[in-house]
């Protein structure tokens, strides 16, 4: 009898969580793909049959951290209406396993993403799956749709300040236009006209921005609005957040904060990404799509985002480009309420 009780107790430690439909579900599971154990947290209203899979940027950042700390405040808002799945990509955060460095590549990342969607589809066959990528995560999501074509498992696409182009010469052309249009707008508003007129005068003498000296001057004129528009308090964790992460969360905070993986993954994937541009292929994507862009995203200017949006193959009435005022590259912080409302409306009503 004692042995039986012991076996039951040991078994209960490893018992799996059920994939149940609920208005406040929280399921944490691992997905094994080619020697990697990828952690997935599915949380929110699964009974809605609407699941959004968030694909984080970086490359090399994590999703589980922001989900556990609820940095985007989606838990108390967006997750009441839809379910959101968060996962840590191979080699990042709480992903585990003993795999080779050679598997840190975009093709493998797309395969991992396909498998995450596959498990969600298998456990919630009636659910509509939306892919939501931010920055590099948008590249991953979009290139996944392109590679897997009809086999891709997503029903809708949401891109937030998407990095769909890693041809940096082209990006600097858009950044030049970004400065020009911002300067003209500020002069029309009568704001700091001497500064912005000087910027325009400088741009007239610089038809191409290619060397570091020019880029530095561009930065001085732009003033890095993406940075100063994000209040520090949005990025700060309280003591309670830290205690919760460390002592009560379902994952180990050490890998994400103390390992050198972010730098490694970032270097490996950025080397592969450099020069790639999805723009000419985007016409093959025909899913309903929502593009959300920070008005002052100086990293990937909205002008570049609009050009990508125009290249998308989705019919006009099923796609929308929305510029978020007073937001930089991460509107999840500076325009959080508006962003959540737009995502919710797109997923539930489009």
């Amino acid at each position: 009898m004692k042995k039986l009780i012991t076996l039951i107790l040991i078994g209960s430690l490893f018992a799996c969580q059920k994939f149940e439909s609920s208005t406040s579900a929280e399921t944490y599971f691992h997905l094994t793909v080619d020697k990697a154990s990828i952690p997935v947290l599915l949380r929110g209203n699964t009974a809605s049959n609407k699941i959004m899979l968030f694909v984080n940027g970086g490359p090399g950042l994590t999703s589980l951290d922001l989900a556990e700390a609820d940095l985007f405040e989606w838990k108390s808002n967006l997750e009441k209406s839809v379910a959101i799945a968060y996962y840590d990509q191979r080699g990042c955060g709480n992903a585990q396993g003993d795999f080779e460095e050679s598997s840190i590549n975009l093709q493998q990342y797309r395969k991992d993403l396909h498998n995450v969607l596959g498990v969600l589809k298998a456990q919630y066959p009636d659910a509509e799956l939306s892919l939501c990528g931010h920055s590099f995560g948008s590249f991953l999501a979009s290139s996944y749709l392109l590679e897997y074509g009809d086999q891709a498992l997503a029903d809708k696409l949401i891109l937030i300040d998407a990095a769909l182009n890693y041809d940096f010469d082209l990006t600097w052309e858009y950044r030049r236009i970004f400065l020009q249009e911002m300067a003209e707008a500020q002069i029309n508003l009568g704001e700091n006209t001497a500064h912005w007129q000087a910027a325009l005068d400088w741009l007239h003498t610089e038809p191409n921005l290619s060397d570091n000296a020019q880029k530095k001057i561009w930065n001085q004129y732009v003033g890095q609005p993406g940075e100063y528009l994000i209040p520090d308090e949005y990025l700060a964790l309280s003591l309670r957040d830290y205690l919760k992460l460390g002592f009560a969360s379902s994952y180990n905070p050490f890998p994400a904060f103390l390992s050198s993986n972010l730098e490694k993954i970032n270097d490996l994937l950025n080397a592969e990404l450099e020069g790639q541009n999805l723009q000419s292929d985007l016409k093959q994507i025909k899913l309903p799509a929502l593009f959300l862009w920070g008005q002052y995203d100086d990293l990937i200017p909205p002008q570049e985002g609009k050009a990508m949006f125009d290249s998308l193959g989705t019919v006009d009435h099923q796609k929308e480009f929305i510029s978020l005022p007073d937001a930089g590259h991460e509107p999840m912080f500076s325009q959080n309420s508006a962003l959540q409302a737009l995502i919710k409306n797109f997923i539930l009503h489009s």
Binding site: L13, F14, C16, Q17, Y28, F29, H30, L31, T32, V33, S37, P39, G91, N94, A95, Q96, G97, D98, F99, E100, E101, N115, G118, V119, A122, Q123, G246, F247, A248, S250, Y251, N252, P253, F254, P255, L258, S259, S260, N261, K264
Partner: protein, 187 residues
């Protein structure tokens, strides 16, 4: 009160057993990964060298080697079994002792609630695990709470940090807090 008494009796019983293994002492402890994720750890202690301080005969010094066995459970992340060897330097006076040391060992981690997609598209649950070497540092404070002619029992607290060398990604960090009882045979 029942649990500490049981633990104490278990300690004495295992202490007798450790004598059979020629150990100088042994310990049994709660082993919490990041404090709150529970585990259990048992160790045998072998004294390699003991001497008294030249300035104060009441101050004792000791170098010991301690093989250990244990596990910890972290819901949703991983549960691991481990085997460690610890090399420690101890300074003690009267009822109190401080200890510093190095840890080296091996752990096997089991990933809970794991799924995979088979080639035919079927999603099935499976039970992956992987092994890794681990190493780390610790500091320990202990206080004597009981002694008779043959044994002394100490209560101790021991924080430690470890890295498990998992291949790729290269390492995973851990923080552990160990709180337990240590039984030492008197020479």
């Amino acid at each position: 009160m029942k649990s500490p008494t049981t633990l104490f009796l278990l300690l004495l019983a295992l202490g007798a057993k450790s004598q059979w293994l020629n150990a100088d002492g042994y310990s049994l402890a709660y082993y919490g990964e990041f404090v709150s994720h529970p585990g259990l750890k048992g160790s045998l202690h072998y004294s390699l060298k003991e001497w008294n301080s030249s300035k104060d005969s009441q101050r004792q010094r000791n170098i010991s080697l301690s093989p250990s066995l244990g596990f910890f459970y972290h819901a949703n992340y991983q549960s691991s079994f481990f085997v460690d060897a610890e090399l420690a330097y101890q300074r003690s006076k009267k009822r109190h002792a401080w200890e510093w040391g190095l840890i080296g060992g091996y752990q096997r981690s089991f990933i809970p609630n794991s799924w995979r997609i088979l080639h035919n598209g079927i999603v099935e649950q499976h039970y992956p695990s992987y092994g890794a070497l681990r190493s780390g540092l610790f500091v320990k404070y202990q206080r004597r709470i009981y002694q008779n002619e043959e044994h002394q029992v100490n209560l101790y607290i021991k924080p430690s940090t470890l890295a498990a060398w998992t291949g790729y990604p290269s390492n995973t960090g851990y923080f552990f807090l160990e709180i337990g009882l240590n039984l030492k045979h008197k020479a």
